[in-house]
């Protein structure tokens, strides 16, 4: 079973549907109040949070996709990378789903200039096309060059 399916956290960045592999996710924080913004940090950095004594940087995903409209992020997905924990601010967390590996297709299009190497494929979920993001690689990305 585990070989045939992969679990994903499905979330929305404004109207863009994305997902992280559950194995990359450390935890989900359903609020963004405690994010402390850091003066002079790059624009896509929301700030930092205190994750049980560790200072974790939070990146606003909507900045990646150049979604400048005022859409407040509601939640933070804390992911594990090989080096550290990294948080991503997202508009809304929708579901945790199991998708058969066969159902994951390579992405036909690249949303808003995001390079293919950050995308692990796409799958259908409730008639929406969900883009799987590679969190490890995303962490190295400074900002989307549109």
């Amino acid at each position: 079973m585990s070989e045939k399916y992969r679990s994903f956290v499905v979330f929305r960045i404004k109207d863009l549907y994305c997902a992280f592999d559950c194995l990359d996710v450390q935890e989900i924080i359903r609020e963004t109040k405690q994010v402390k913004s850091i003066c002079r940090a790059d624009e896509h950095i929301m700030g930092v949070i205190n994750l049980r004594g560790e200072i974790v940087t939070v990146i606003s995903l909507k900045q990646f996709f150049k979604l400048k409209e005022k859409v407040a992020d509601s939640s933070i997905i804390v992911t594990k990378t090989s080096k550290e924990h990294l948080g991503y601010g997202v508009t809304e967390i929708l579901d945790v789903v199991e998708i058969p590996i066969k159902a994951i297709e390579s992405s036909p299009t690249v949303p808003d200039g995001l390079e293919t190497q950050y995308i692990g494929g796409v799958f259908d979920w409730k008639n929406e096309l969900v883009t799987v993001l590679e969190s490890e690689r995303l962490a190295d990305l400074k900002e989307v060059t549109a």
Binding site: I38, A41, V48, N50, G53, I55
Partner: protein
């Protein structure tokens, strides 16, 4: 397997620890030379022995071999058979380098090449054997195939002759455990029993490397080599030892093989084939050996036959002094290469452990217990909502946590000695390389610092010491030509000062060449000619810390490779340290590094800027200045586009926190009187290294101890932060990196400041004074010398009590007498209502309080006191400080006027009938000269005055009636240091008591003073102490 690894790790770690101390011991042994300290040699010997034992247990053959040879040398040293010459110690040190490297890289141990070092030690050992013991070479014994079997000492061979069953004949027997013993149905025990009946066994071993694998069982043998000494002649021996032909070799007294005993009982040369190549190799060896052989071969009748025998046996010539030079030269170069690579070798896993004192561990355990207890109380109380209990429990938690923190920090504290000790070796090696002669004095090895700091200061310090060795010290000849001791002295010392650890590196070399430095700095474009002109010598000397600076005319191996002192400075700054360089050309250099005790937890100040909280490390914080709105225009000025503020007679640049925090800040409104500031200012005066500047913040908050946490990689590049911390509330506060901020904003020392400063210096040729400025009444300002003050208490007038006519105040549970300046002096009366302050000071052996209305400031500045206009009882003089007239309070005078009986009780005054002593007072400030003279007069002494050391020496030489000297330190023409040195060198004056008087108190200058020959080191204006010391030296000592 894992368990084995653990034991191995433990062994490696212990070995490293053992080795650590050895270097110093070896150097000490070298220094002592023929005067051998047996206990010290024993110590090194024991360490080697322990490592040898362990390594053979773990099968670390290379370690074992090295330690074995080292051990045997040491053994002979401690038996006084060998004098530890520099060569011997050098070879041992190299062996230790190899050992450390091997132990540090256990996985690469097999590939490690120690043969050069082994050879060298062996060579040294045999070569240098002469002085004490006479020849005692290591004799190498080979079998018929030329393979090395044993290495036996000549003396052992000789001794064996006199052993039980021993004799003049030596044989090497080769039993084959498989063929000779097993197949002949004997047991090894039987064989050995037989042997012991016949001869004395010098040495034996089984060549287990040849243990056959199963396939080749038939062809293989398992040789058992036995070296025996016996009376049996060679023709009889075959009958006794049940051995095949070729299994017995007859040996000379010096271990060389004469021949093999054939089974027919005849002896003859063994006709092994020798290739031409081999012969070629042997040529050189023979040439060297032949000169020796004549004398060596006592027992051999025909030297030529002996020589031939040697050739056939692959020239196993005895290592002797004659054969030395060639291999030695080769060794040195390879050893050098290895040494270099060993410097690069990084520390491995072994140092990941910390040794903790058991007592400390116990205290940690008990604290943990207390913490659990407190937690339980807290949980219970909060469950039952008992507020009072919760409060007490949380207090308990607070206390235990602090203690726990302290105890845990202690476990990280390591003595700095582990870093210092290696400098002995480095200096010694550099002395050899550079042809210099320098003695190292190390002090304060036991000073403890955080592990991380101890580990990271090694490299910067090494760099400094290499620099000092290369540039600082002259060669012995140069030193002699300028009249210095040809042996230079390098002092490395650590001590605590003001909550920091100070590391001082002092050399008595040539000092920093100011001319050369300014020239090079100018060439490198570090400074302009204009600024150079205005720089003091000290500032110029400090240019060596600038990036891109190197005075070395040529790049040597030791220094000048472009990795300059700036790297040292950056590294030390990273550790929160500061560097201060003092140099006197021709006399030496002093480098003073002060470092925090620990990095992990640091005291900080929280400030708020734009409603956000930031932490500022207190190490960088000099002062917080509040500038009221209406004073902004007078206190803050601008130069060009920068704001400046005056801080302690220095103009420093002022920046707004917004300038570096926000991207779009409103520019400073220079047209506005208050520069656009709408509120009073909080200015943090901070120091980043040598650079000082001010930061305007909105508000200052708490000052907690914080734990520094690093930022993630997306924020690391922000140089204005040193990381962040988590506050008690769980909130995050970024920590300012003040060096980073300075770089970000391009803050530099202000150029135009220096000029003003210089002018100021000219005006006040006086002395730096620490004063507390207080206010009496409404606007009369008084200054109290800070040196006398113990504490300042803020009280309300109700706290003041009275006993009889005396007012008192409860200070730390004791009632102390209160005085007012207006009790004795004609000044404004103190206001009697509301809040006031008590300045607690100490004089005449008691704590006393001075009542004042308000404490204004503490200043450290150069002032000229006018000692005439306002002089009266209780007032020493007056001066203008910050545009206010300030009266200098005479604490002693006030007390003396109010309570004359106390003064007499202390017995510092001279009885009338006693002889009047003449005291010389030296001080360049006429104010102090007059002050001191006047109270000396009061106390019943007569005094003469001088303005500087030179004048004083002239006076002393012409006037022998002076019985004691009080001397200032900082003086023109000849300062106190030079004065005392010259005085102590004068045959007539050298025993005169001289007390130093200074306004700058510091443990290091005090030590220096006492070392140079001052009898005491006293604080100016502390009359009581001065008088007591006068009494001590003039009267108490007179009877001695």
């Amino acid at each position: 397997m894992d368990e084995d690894d653990e034991i191995l790790d433990l062994f490696l770690e212990e070995s490293l620890e053992d080795l650590e101390g050895i270097e110093t011991d070896l150097l000490e042994i070298e220094k002592n030379g023929a005067d051998i300290d047996v206990e010290q040699v024993n110590k090194v010997f024991r360490a080697m022995h322990t490592i040898k034992g362990g390594s053979s247990f773990f099968g670390l053959t290379k370690v074992k071999d090295l330690t074995h040879v080292a051990e045997s040398i040491l053994d002979r040293v401690r038996k006084f058979q060998l004098v530890p010459t520099p060569e011997i110690v050098q070879s041992l040190l190299e062996a230790i380098d190899h050992l450390v490297n091997m132990i540090n890289n256990p996985s690469d141990m097999d590939s490690y090449d120690i043969s050069a070092s082994l050879q060298k030690i062996e060579a040294v050992e045999s070569g240098e054997a002469g002085p004490v013991a006479g020849a005692d070479e290591e004799v190498l014994i080979t079998n018929s195939k030329g393979e090395l079997i044993f290495s036996v000492k000549q003396s052992d061979l000789k001794d064996s002759e006199n052993e039980f069953k021993g004799g003049p004949n030596l044989y090497l027997l080769t039993y084959d455990l498989l063929n000779d013993i097993e197949r002949k149905d004997k047991t090894p025990q039987e064989v050995i029993k037989e042997l012991v009946q016949l001869c004395y066994i010098v040495e034996s071993k089984v060549d287990y490397e040849l243990v056959p694998d199963l396939e080749n069982f038939e062809e293989m043998s398992l040789p058992f080599y036995i070296l025996v000494s016996t009376v049996l002649e060679s023709d009889m021996i075959f009958d006794f030892f049940d051995l095949e032909h070729g299994s017995i070799s007859i040996l000379n007294g010096d271990g060389s093989v004469v021949s093999e005993v054939r089974d027919d009982g005849t002896s003859g040369s063994n006709g092994n084939d020798i290739s031409l190549d081999e012969l070629g190799d042997l040529d050189a060896a023979l040439a060297a050996a032949s000169t020796e052989l004549g004398s060596k071969s006592k027992e051999v009748k025909d030297p030529v036959a002996e020589l031939l025998g040697e050739v056939t046996k692959d020239a196993q010539f005895v290592k002797s002094p004659g054969s030395q030079p060639l291999p030695k030269v080769v060794d040195k170069s390879t050893a050098k290469q290895e040494k270099k690579s060993s410097f690069k070798a990084k520390k491995p896993t072994a140092s990941e452990n910390v040794r903790v004192n058991v007592a400390l561990l116990e205290s940690l355990m008990s604290l943990a217990g207390e913490l659990v207890l407190a937690r339980n109380q807290l949980l219970q109380a909060s469950e039952e909502e008992r507020i009072a209990d919760m409060k007490s429990a949380s207090q308990q938690v607070n206390m235990v946590t602090s203690q726990l923190q302290e105890a845990i920090m202690k476990t990280r504290m390591q003595p700095i000695g582990s870093v210092f000790n290696k400098f002995n070796r480095i200096v010694r090696d550099l002395c050899n390389d550079l042809g210099k002669d320098v003695k190292v004095i190390i002090e304060g090895e036991s000073v403890e610092m955080d592990k991380t700091i101890v580990e990271s200061i090694g490299d910067p310090l090494t760099h400094i010491i290499r620099n000092s060795m290369d540039h600082g010290f002259e060669t012995p000849e140069q030193r002699q030509s300028v009249g210095k001791d040809p042996k230079g002295t390098l002092v490395i010392r650590a001590y605590h000062e003001a909550g920091k650890v100070v590391i001082e590196i002092l050399d008595d070399g040539r000092g920093v060449n100011i001319e050369k430095v300014s020239e090079k700095a100018f060439e490198a474009g570090i400074v302009t000619e204009h600024t150079l002109e205005k720089m003091s010598e000290k500032e110029i000397a400090n240019l060596i810390f600038m990036p891109g600076f190197s005075t070395a005319d040529e790049v040597t191996e030791i220094s000048g490779r472009g990795v300059g002192m700036d790297v040292v400075l950056t590294n030390l700054k990273r550790l929160g340290g500061t560097v201060d360089l003092n140099s006197r050309e021709g006399a030496g250099t002093q480098l003073k590094i002060s470092l925090p005790l620990t990095l992990a937890i640091m005291p900080s100040l929280l400030v708020s800027v734009c409603d956000e909280t930031f932490a500022v490390p207190q190490v960088n914080l000099l002062q917080i200045v509040r500038v009221p709105l209406n004073e902004i225009h007078s206190k803050v000025q601008h130069t060009g586009s920068n704001l400046v503020i005056r801080f302690m007679n220095e103009l420093i640049q002022l920046v707004r926190a917004e300038d570096f925090l926000k991207e779009d800040v409103e520019p400073i409104d220079f047209s506005h009187k208050s520069f656009g500031f709408k509120n009073h200012l909080y200015v943090l005066v901070v120091a980043a290294g040598e650079l000082k500047y001010g930061i305007v913040v909105d508000q200052t908050l708490d000052s907690p101890e914080i734990v520094v946490k690093p930022f993630g990689r997306h924020l690391k590049h922000l140089s204005i932060y040193a990381g962040a911390t988590i506050l008690g509330s769980g909130d995050i506060a970024p920590i300012f990196d003040l060096l980073g901020i300075a770089t970000e904003l391009n803050i530099t020392q202000l150029d135009n400041v220096e000029q003003e400063e210089d002018e100021e210096k000219d005006i006040h040729a006086g002395e730096l004074q620490k004063l507390l400025i207080v206010q009496n009444g409404n606007n009369e300002r008084l200054a109290v010398p800070l040196n006398n003050i113990v504490r300042i208490e803020r009280i309300s007038s109700e706290d003041i009590g009275s006993v009889g006519s005396m007012t008192t105040y409860d200070y730390l549970g004791k009632s102390i007498a209160l005085f007012r300046v207006d009790d004795v002096a004609d000044i404004t009366k103190i206001r009697n209502e509301g809040k006031c302050s008590v300045v607690v000071f100490e004089t005449m052996g008691r704590h006393l309080g001075l009542l004042v209305n308000e404490v204004i400031d503490s200043v450290e500045l150069v002032v000229d006191f006018d000692e005439t206009t306002h002089k009266q009882t209780g007032i020493l003089g007056s001066a203008f400080i910050d545009d206010h007239l300030v009266l200098l309070v005479d604490l002693f005078g006030i007390v003396a006027a109010c309570k004359p009986e106390w003064v007499n009780k202390t017995g510092v005054h001279v009885q009338a009938h006693e002889q009047k002593h003449k005291i010389l007072v030296i001080d360049d400030s006429s104010f102090f000269v007059n002050q001191i003279s006047s109270f000396l007069d009061e106390a019943g002494y007569s005094s003469v005055q001088c303005m500087d050391g030179k004048e004083a020496l002239t006076l002393l030489r012409s006037d022998p009636s002076v019985s004691l000297v009080l001397s200032d330190i900082e003086m023109p023409v000849m300062d106190g240091w030079q004065f005392i040195e010259e005085l102590r060198a004068d045959p007539v004056l050298k025993d005169l008591p001289v007390l130093a008087l200074t306004s700058v108190a510091g443990e290091s200058s005090r030590e220096k003073g006492l070392a140079l020959g001052f009898n005491e080191y006293l604080i100016k204006l502390d009359r009581e102490e001065i008088l007591q010391n006068l009494k001590h030296y003039l009267y108490d000592n007179a009877t001695v």
